[in-house]
C-alpha cells in the first residue's frame, strides 16, 4: 500500500473527517482486496470493508502516525474478517462456485475439489485465515504475521496445523490426498 502523507495521518489522529475520507478513498481497494481474499465473498467483503473503516475511525486517537497506516488497516480488517468467519461459517459452502465458476481442473475431480473446499471451510477460523493468506493468496508471511498480530513462526505453525486438519478431514471421508 502507498502510504498517505504524514499530514493527513496527523489530522486523522485528531479526528478530522476530511482526513478520514482521504484515507478511506486511498485504502478502500486494498482493504477490500485483503478481506475478499480471506472471506471469499465479494458482498460480505464490501460490508466488512465498511466495518473495518468504522473500527478505524473509532480508534483514530490510538493510531500512531509514525507507523504504517496500511499495516494497521490490514490488522483491523483481518480481525473483522475473522469475526465474520466465526459468525457465518456454514453458509459459505457454495460461494466459490458463485464467485468463480471454474473449468475442469486437470488431475482433480469436481467432487474432490468440492469436498476439499468444504473441509477447508470447516477448519478453525484462525487456521483457515492463515492458510488462505499464505497458501491460496500467497501473501508474504511477514505481512500475514503483522495482520494477525503474531510471529512469522506462529503463522507457519498455523498453516501446518491447517494442512494437518485438512488431511485428517479428507481421510475421514475416505479420501487419500
Amino acid at each position: 500500500m502507498v502510504e498517505p502523507p504524514s499530514e493527513v495521518l496527523r489530522q486523522f489522529c485528531h479526528g478530522s473527517l476530511d482526513a478520514f475520507e482521504a484515507l478511506f478513498r486511498r485504502h478502500q481497494g486494498e482493504v477490500y482486496g485483503w478481506i475478499v481474499g480471506i472471506v471469499r465473498d465479494p458482498a460480505a467483503a464490501e460490508d466488512l470493508t465498511v466495518e473495518t473503516f468504522w473500527r478505524i475511525y473509532r480508534a483514530h486517537a490510538r493510531f500512531d502516525p509514525a507507523r504504517s497506516f496500511g499495516a494497521w488497516a490490514r490488522r483491523i480488517a483481518t480481525n473483522a474478517a475473522l469475526d465474520h468467519l466465526k459468525a457465518a461459517r456454514p453458509e459459505t459452502d457454495l460461494l466459490d462456485e458463485l464467485v468463480a465458476p471454474r473449468l475442469p481442473e486437470p488431475g482433480i475431480s469436481d467432487e474432490l475439489r468440492r469436498k476439499t473446499a468444504q473441509a477447508f471451510r470447516r477448519l478453525p477460523p484462525k487456521l483457515q485465515v492463515a492458510a488462505t493468506l499464505a497458501l491460496i493468496e500467497e501473501q508474504p508471511y511477514k505481512e500475514i504475521a503483522e495482520a494477525l498480530g503474531i510471529s512469522t513462526g506462529a503463522v507457519k505453525v498455523r498453516v501446518f496445523r491447517a494442512l494437518r486438519f485438512l488431511r485428517k478431514a479428507l481421510k475421514q471421508q475416505g479420501i487419500e490426498p
Binding site: Q28, G33, R102, G107, R113, F120, L135, I136, L166
Partner: protein
C-alpha cells in the same frame, strides 16, 4: 505428516480454492464512501460507562440529600 504429504495437500488446496484477491479485488468499481457515511451517521456516539455511573451517583445523592438540590442549582 511428512513434507511430501504437505506438498500434496497444498497442491490439492490450491486447485480446489483458486486465489480470488487479484481478480475480485481489482473489481471494486464503486466507491464505498456513501455506505461509510451512512454507517457513520446511523451509529450514535456511545456514552461512556463512566458518564452513566456519574449520573447515577448524582441522582442517588440528590435522592438521599434533597437539601443539596439548591446548592447544586446554585453551582450550575
Amino acid at each position: 505428516m511428512n513434507e511430501h504429504d504437505q506438498e500434496r495437500i497444498e497442491q490439492l488446496l490450491k486447485k480446489s480454492l483458486p486465489p480470488i484477491r487479484a481478480r475480485v479485488g481489482a473489481e471494486l468499481g464503486r466507491g464505498l464512501w456513501p455506505a461509510m457515511l451512512r454507517r457513520l451517521e446511523e451509529r450514535p456516539t456511545a456514552v461512556p460507562w463512566f458518564d452513566w455511573a456519574l449520573l447515577a451517583a448524582v441522582a442517588a445523592w440528590l435522592v438521599l440529600f434533597p437539601g443539596a438540590i439548591p446548592v447544586l442549582l446554585y453551582h450550575l
